[in-house]
């Protein structure tokens, strides 16, 4: 088994790394979106309660 086997092995390593990276960035994107939505909701709730009073 020579260089081709080695290259295939390294590609497998990089595939694992890439899947992990993509998974982290997707989770980050989702959470940041959720955080923005919640902050907006909090702001709205705050302004509505001040209007009510």
């Amino acid at each position: 088994m020579g260089m081709n086997y080695l290259v295939a092995a390294y590609m497998l390593i990089w595939a694992v790394l890439c899947v992990f990276l993509v998974q982290i960035f997707r989770r980050q994107g989702k959470l940041l979106g959720e955080l923005k939505r919640l902050r907006d909701e909090m702001k709205r709730a705050g302004s509505e309660s001040s209007t009510d009073s």
């Binding site: 088994m1 020579g2 790394l17 955080l35 909090m42």
Partner: protein
Amino acid sequence: MSGESRSLSSKLLLLLVMGSMPVALYMAFIYAPEEASMGPVQRIFYFHVSSAWIAFLAYFVIFVGSLGYLIKRSPKMDSLAHGAGEVGFMFCSLVLITGPLWAKPVWGLWWPWDARITSTFALWLLYASYLSVRHFFEESGRSATLGAVVGIIGFIDVPIVYFSIRWWRTHHPAPVILGGEGSGLDPQMYTALWVTLGAFLALFSFLLWQVFTLRSVEREIFSIRRRMVILASK
């Protein structure tokens, strides 16, 4: 640390990873000399050994973070331990993937149950247990405390994995670094190994930083939700 400096550190770490990884590949594939008996397949060594050392380091970070959490009840220490758990699990998986890829052409076996391989598999199971405890007890609020207990007890396996090839002579090769008389590597192989390890260390720091930030955002979301529940109940 402010959001801007956090983002700058993340970008600097990413640059370090992007700069060091091609150098590590060059060192492993071109710079390092070919091993006489194993041929090109021995070059897996550089990534296999680096992944293993980073997996040890990650478990050490879990251990320190868990102790810190139990002593100080600091959520940051808990996030550090949890982040190291996720990243370390990935590196430990890489060790278990690259090991058999190297073993098959050299020993003719994918997976002999020798001392080093079995103890490394136990470490991988400990990582999986740590992450499972974190996941399944998240709702009950006991995830951090129970995770810290698993993180501290599980650390016992790290020295067992490290010393396994010194204590029991089975399939796995004898240590080439700090292995005593008769051990050692070609100086160029040493250089290639240290460069690859440096690149992996940069990658570990970058990934840990990302997951740590992710946990901070999760904590913030949790606290906003709690405030919203309080506001709604008033």
